[in-house]
Structure formats: C-alpha cells, structure tokens
C-alpha cells in the first residue's frame, strides 16, 4: 500500500455513465489487476477503482457513475489534487498464461483487462478479448484492445453493436487459459461454458481496502479470503460461485 497525492490531468465521459480519469503521480509498484482507493470530498470511505492502465507516470482509471461518490468523481476537474492509496490487492498472475490467452470482460469489469492485455502483449502473448455490454451506448475500450494488437469480439445483449448476445455465446469449449472480470452472472456463465482454467476479479463493498477490517471477506475453498487483500484476483478453482 502506498498513499500519495495525485494530480488530475483529465476526466471525460467515454460511454453512457462511464468516465475515464487520467492522473499523474507515483505509479511505482502498480501491477495489472490491482485497484486504487480514492478519497472523494463529502464521503467518509474511499472508492475502490480498478487500475485500467499505467503509462509513464500516468494512471488511467475507468469508472461508472453508480452512486453519489462516483458522480462527484465525474465532476472533478483537471488540476485537482487527489488522495489515493495504490498498489492494493493481488493482481493477475501472468506466469500461468500460455502463448495464447483469453480475456473476458463485462461492462465496467473491462478496465482492468486493458492494462493486463498491454502487459501480456509486451510479453509476446497472443491475446483474444471478448467483452460484453448491455447496449451500444455503453460500449468502450474496443479500440484500446485493437491498438494493443489483440483480437476483439464485442457483444451487446440487445444486438445494437457487435455480436448479438452475451460473452459466453462467443466462447468455445476448448478455450485457452483465461482472465475475467465482470458481473457475477457473467462469471458463473463463464465457468459453466469453459470451466475453471483461469483467474477472475471479484468485486465487493469494502471498508478499508487494505486488509484490516475484513468487511469484504468471501468464502473460498481455502477459507475466508479478503477481496481487498488476497484478491481481488483469485484462481477460479478456489472460488465458490454457486455454479
């Protein structure tokens, strides 16, 4: 855990209720799959937001406005100073990836896969991405993955963009090792469709984000685990998703 002041460079809407924030500060030690905790004026607890990208000393966060705190985040203007905790949680273990890797994301679960895709591509992996959204106005990140040289399938549930359907409609049974992040129904469907050979990010309401309040603990096959500390990324085999 590191606590630092960050400088806000830009904060713009990139899709329906989805915003992209770029900050500069101490990015040292941040790895794909981790999250940051951001102090929001007028709110007591910090907002946990997944790391979307790190480039030089720039940190990108993509977040959805779901409540008062994230709405206030969306109103922050360039040059504001932000108080962040960084290097939080256990990121994706890329050593388990074979030459060909599958990334699966849903909605606002897509952002952490962007930094992961970048690192996997730097490591010479072939990366295929399957991302799903409700509808065209919510779609984002397709171009970022294409620019990284990933193969990309975009699905929308209402068929208004890309393939009509959900991510699992695109997945084949013989899928390679995968990394996934998204809503619980999607994660369950992934396990039903292609099994447990991968890693997933869990999401939970947090108190501290640093492992001291156990507010976010989930039951796993290896006992109670803190999503903020042992997670947010878990081996799918260890999870109890009630599939």
């Amino acid at each position: 855990m590191k606590q630092n002041k960050w400088h806000l460079l830009s904060n713009e809407r990139i899709a329906e209720r989805v915003w992209k924030m770029v900050l500069t500060g101490d990015v040292s030690g941040i790895v794909p799959g981790q999250f940051v905790e951001l102090l929001v004026p007028g709110h007591y607890l910090r907002r946990p937001i997944s790391v979307c990208d790190v480039d030089g000393d720039r940190l990108t966060l993509i977040y959805k406005t779901v409540g008062q705190g994230t709405v206030i985040m969306s109103q922050m203007r360039p040059d504001e100073k932000l108080d962040l905790l960084t290097c939080l949680g256990n990121g994706y273990d890329m050593s388990k990836a074979e030459d060909e890797v599958l990334l699966i994301g849903g909605g606002v679960g897509v952002p952490p896969l962007i930094y992961l895709a970048k690192k996997l591509r730097e490591g010479g992996k072939r990366v295929h991405v399957v991302i799903g959204f409700n509808t065209k106005s919510e779609v984002f990140s397709e171009e970022m993955f294409l620019n990284l040289g990933c193969g990309v399938d975009v699905c929308t549930i209402d068929g208004s963009y890309g393939k009509h359907g959900v991510v699992t409609d695109v997945l084949k049974k013989s899928a390679p090792y995968y990394f996934a992040c998204g809503p619980m129904p999607m994660l369950r469907a992934i396990v039903q469709t292609i099994g447990t050979n991968g890693q997933m990010s869990m999401e939970e309401r947090m108190g501290c984000g640093v492992g001291i309040c156990v507010g976010c603990s989930i039951e796993t096959k290896n006992g109670m685990k803190r999503v903020c500390k042992e997670g947010p990324v878990f081996d799918v085999e260890c999870l109890m998703l009630n599939v």
Partner: protein, 304 residues
Amino acid sequence: MKVRLKDIILKNPVIPASGTCGFGVEMSEWMDLNILGAISIKGTTREARQGNARPRIAECGATGMLNAVGLQNPGVEEVVRHEIPELRRLYDGPIIANVSGFSIEEYAYVCERIDKETDATILEVNISCPNVHNGGMAFGTSPEAAAEVTGAVKAATRKPVFMKLSPNVTDITSIARACVDAGADGLCLINTVLGMRIDIRHRKPVLANRYGGYSGPGVLPIALRMVNQVSKACPGTPIIGCGGVSSEEDVIEMMMAGASAVEIGAAGLRNPKACQTIIEALPRAMKELKIEHLEDIIGIVNNE
C-alpha cells in the same frame, strides 16, 4: 505523551481499535507498530467464525459508516498459536486482546486460553457487539449479565480486564458500575451505535444483516457524553475512550471527557495511517493548548 492504564504504561494514548487493524501485523506494511500506545486486535471467539453475509459495509455520507462484519475471526486457538506471537515479533508494546462470546463460559474460556498461552497485556471483553444475534450485546445491555461476565472472566485470568461497553442502552453508567463492582480493572467505550441504511432504489436494507454498527465522526459527541458520564459514575477506573476520534484534537477532547487512553477505529479505515498522523501531531496540539502532561487533562471537565 505517556499515559497509564492501571499499572500499564503506554508511550502515548493512541490505540488502533479492535476490528479496524486486523491482528496488528497487517498495519506493519505501512507503519512502524512500535510508535503506537497499544494495539487492540480483532475480536476473538472460541470457534472460528465466518461472520455475516455481505454486504457488511455501508457508508453514511461524510459522517461515518455502518459495519456488520459479525465477528469473523479464526478462533482462539489460531489467535494464541499464530496471530499474537506474530504480532509480538514485530511489536513490543501492550497488546490488547479483544474477546467475544456467546455464553459466559465461552468468555471465560477464551480469556483463560489467551491468558495461559500468550503475553497479551490486557483483555478487552466485548459485551457490546451489535452485529451477531446473542453475540455479546445481550450481555452488555443488562447490569446483571454484564457483572456475571465480568466475574467469570476475572476468575479465569490475572491479566487486567477492560469491559467494552455498548452505547445501545438507556443508562450506560449502571452497566459500567456493575462491571466495576464485579471486579473490572477498566472500561472501554463506546462500541458502535446500532444503525441502518436503506437502498431506496431497491427498497431494501443496504446491509445483508439489516442493521449494523455506526462509527465515525458522527458518533464522537455520543462517545464523549458517555465517557464523561461513566468517568463520573466510576471515579478511579481507567477508561479507554472510543468513538469517532479522528484527530489529535479529538484525542485531547476524549481525554478531557475522562478517558485515560483513546482508540481510533473508523478513521483508520479511511486513512490507514491515521494513528501515526495523530501521534505525530499530538505534541504540537499539546503545546498550543498548554498541556504539559496528557495525564493532567484526564476528566478535567469534571473539576468544575
């Protein structure tokens, strides 16, 4: 900045509160534990507990938060074998072991195990957890039951026993008095205030447990009032003041109300380095307020 709890000397009055600092070791990643006055570790029961269903945390605007963790802990054997020795390797100050139970026998048993197997300094007996059915608060809301737990625990250990009291009562002084009369060496108050938040879009409680304990700056005035009432009702009994303390000035205020030391809870979840920041800021605040020794201000508002 030195203060005393019975005959135990703390280098300063700042203690991370039970349930907001894990078993202490977790905090060593960003803080030298040895700067702390003492450490109050996660509440321990006889058996391991998974705690309540999620969500267990709900925010309350700028004023604080609700929690309904529900005493998740690895059980007393794991705590005495693993957690307390691990903390001791990194920290040489007073360890406050927080104990919970579902029966008087369980309280006594857990205290006895910790007494026998560890060098924990103080036992903080939680008769005030609002988040588990029959889990402690039932004992902390009646003077007779509170006295019974105190007596049983005192018989099981020779370590100092501090009873942690619930604010969810009509008259906290009667509970405090009953504990002291039954042999408590000190008191710790307040635990969280029972509260609720509702998700108005889904028309249901935010917490899976429905109700939870409210903590944070919003409870400071309640805690100050109760610490002061108890300090007057139980003169000579050391009190650890707890509830909404977020700054060095809050620490001083809590001590003026009657506390000999102060626990910091929710503030440490918002800012993991809160205790360190407060300890570092205390000397300057003392100088400004012309306080030479912190012990001089304990309960000073009672001298009117």
